[in-house]
């Protein structure tokens, strides 16, 4: 039976009793009781969008609602084999639960621990007969597996730093967050309203900046693993200072990327940087002096007024049009298909200033994405979770159908304009339902 059939027809004849759920952070909140009646559920969305990958639909819903684990599911975790620890700008986790999940088709699901939304019940990961499954209301939705741990993860740098704290891993990507804080959060009211970087930083004792030597050493170790990595990715909080705006941030990335480039003989290598929007001259240095292949500066929300409200620091420093202009300049340097911009999909519906309806939001998003695509820039979307510690933590993210309509729309735009999905595809990143659709 296909997963679609299972999800659509299996009501009331699921896998039997779900094992005892382990309640950790976030799971104790009671979800709104009527949300299932107010929006299309997974089965209905699967049935309504038969041309969209059911795996991508499941992924979007799991990322939207979060997951919790039963004791049986946690019993399937092998800390020697599976990733359980992660340190990034958006997550600090050192318990024995799996970091995230993978579906049978290779689609990644980002759960980053036990995240559960406030407004809707999370999915439950359970296990039986050695099979790990995603369940909802007692019904088995689909088989999942846990992300496997890379070889370098339990090693230490020569400075004695655990490598997992320096470079985090996705199934096929090395992720580097050199700056774990953000200058916008140092200015009152200037941080992005969906962002938890400051909350995560303040709740840990981690240093704000990683040592460049630690990073280079960890990457050098990590890239030895056969068949593991297809991308080296850098991002972090903004560093606005220096002789000119963002020079401090640029210098940091130049040092790191120069060191990593040397590992590959100075050649361009599969890589992506998401930074604050650099100037043309800064982008030129980045491209000419390092092996960096692709570039991203996240606009976060595709509407000028909402950008000013939701990303006040970015807006007051660069402006919406100024940010866009820097993206256009990046295409001149890195080339079409090698530059994109990310949005936190759904924040444009945040109350009280957001769009009144999902229809309006999607129409506006698609129109702006079209404009960017005409200049060779793709828009990629992340599923917004109103995370604890963010200004928007009490907001209600949109419906599953919104995410599927948006993903389909962004995928169509990329196809129409012939923009390659390679730089941010399902293996290289895996956090974008719209780029997952580019597999076929």
């Amino acid at each position: 039976m296909s997963i679609k059939e299972r999800a659509v027809t299996a009501h009331g004849r699921g896998s039997g009793d779900i094992g005892r759920v382990v309640r950790l952070q976030g799971a104790e909140r009671r979800a709104e009781s009527r949300w299932r009646e107010e929006e299309l559920g997974l089965g209905q969305v699967l049935a309504k969008y038969p041309d969209i990958s059911p795996f991508v639909i499941i992924k979007a819903d799991v990322q939207r609602r979060g997951v919790i684990y039963t004791q049986a599911a946690l019993g399937e975790v092998d800390p020697d084999r599976h990733m359980t620890k992660v340190r990034s700008d958006y997550c600090e986790k050192n318990d024995l639960a799996p970091v995230s999940l993978m579906l049978r088709d290779g689609t990644t699901i980002f759960t980053e621990g036990f995240m559960a939304g406030r407004h809707r019940e999370p999915y439950v990961v359970d296990a039986a007969s050695g099979r790990i499954v995603l369940t909802d209301e007692g019904r088995v939705i689909e088989e999942v597996s846990y992300w496997e741990k890379p070889d370098y993860y339990d090693k230490f740098t020569s400075r004695g730093t655990p490598m997992w704290q320096v470079v985090s891993a996705r199934p096929q990507r090395l992720t580097i967050h050199p700056n774990q804080y953000c200058d916008f959060w140092k200015r009152k009211g200037q941080g992005c309203k969906f962002c938890v970087m400051a909350e995560i930083y303040n709740s840990t004792d981690k240093p704000p900046l990683l040592h460049v030597e630690d990073i280079i050493e960890t990457v050098a170790e990590a890239v030895k693993e056969p068949g593991r990595n297809v991308n080296i990715f850098l991002t972090g909080g903004s560093l606005l200072g220096g002789d000119a705006l963002l020079e401090e941030e640029l210098d940091l990335y130049l040092k790191i990327l120069t060191g990593i480039s040397a590992l590959f003989g100075g050649r361009k290598f599969p890589s992506q940087l998401i930074s604050t929007a650099f100037s043309r001259e800064q982008l030129r240095r980045l491209y000419d002096q390092t092996g960096l292949a692709t570039y991203t500066a996240d606009i976060e929300v595709l509407n000028k007024d909402l950008f000013m409200w939701i990303c006040p620091g970015k807006a007051s420093t660069f402006g919406y049009d100024g940010w866009m202009e820097r993206l256009y300049q990046a295409v001149d340097i890195f080339g079409p298909g090698n530059v994109n911009t990310g949005i936190v999909a759904g924040v444009e519906l945040a109350r009280p200033k957001g769009f009144a309806s999902e229809d309006e939001a999607i129409a506006s998003d698609i129109a702006e994405a079209e404009k960017l695509a005409r200049r060779g820039i793709a828009v990629v979307s992340c599923v917004w979770r109103a995370l604890k510690g963010s200004v928007f933590q009490r907001q209600k993210p949109p419906s599953l159908e919104y995410y599927i309509r948006l993903a389909k729309g962004l995928d169509n735009i990329r196809r129409t304009h012939g923009i390659s999905v390679d730089m941010d595809n399902y293996r290289r990143c895996g956090n974008h339902p719209d780029t997952d659709l580019g597999r076929i």
Binding site: P50, S53, R104, D105, G106, S145, E148, Q172, G227, I440
Partner: protein, 160 residues
């Protein structure tokens, strides 16, 4: 529903001289056929094959198959010209992890600086031997009317 392959089909998979091909289709039904030397029968009864090219038509079609339940077919032709058709469902894509790594390391030992995109797993659901002599006998048994009548005219051996 998965099936166990016949002893003959299993032997065909084991024979290094067997030619193996994989037929897939895209979401519009456009067929694609490619020879895939890496097709192999696993101990668990699934068929696996290694896709080396990420953006190949087969790789895209296999993705469409696992997403939308589009069946795929494997054709085997042995050195003694027996042929088998196996139809099945794509059930898993290995793109990372320990099992993928084992495949990757084997691929890297081969000449040609090959990369490995995906190891696809196919669950067999239907098998038929397509060897001509066998199919001809089956046809004559099941459809005795499917023939040209001139074949029924006794041949005058004196004229031949």
């Amino acid at each position: 529903m998965g099936i166990d392959l016949s002893a003959e089909a299993r032997a065909a998979f084991r024979d290094n001289g067997t030619v193996k091909a994989l037929a897939s289709a895209d979401t519009k039904g456009v067929p694609h056929l490619a020879f895939k030397e890496s097709l192999r029968l696993r101990a668990d009864g699934l068929i696996e094959y290694r896709e080396y090219i990420e953006s190949s038509t087969t790789n895209r079609n296999m993705t469409a198959s696992i997403w939308f339940g589009i069946p795929v077919s494997v054709a085997l032709l042995t050195p003694d010209e027996r042929s088998f058709l196996i139809r099945g469902s794509v059930v898993r894509a290995l793109i990372a992890g320990l099992e993928f790594r084992r495949h990757y390391e084997q691929v890297r030992l081969r000449p040609g600086d090959l990369d490995l995109s995906t190891v696809w797993l196919i669950e067999p659901e239907y098998e038929r031997e397509n060897t001509l002599a066998k199919r001809k006998a089956e046809e004559e048994q099941a459809h005795p009317l499917h023939k040209h009548v001139d074949r029924l005219v006794p041949v005058d051996k004196g004229q031949s």
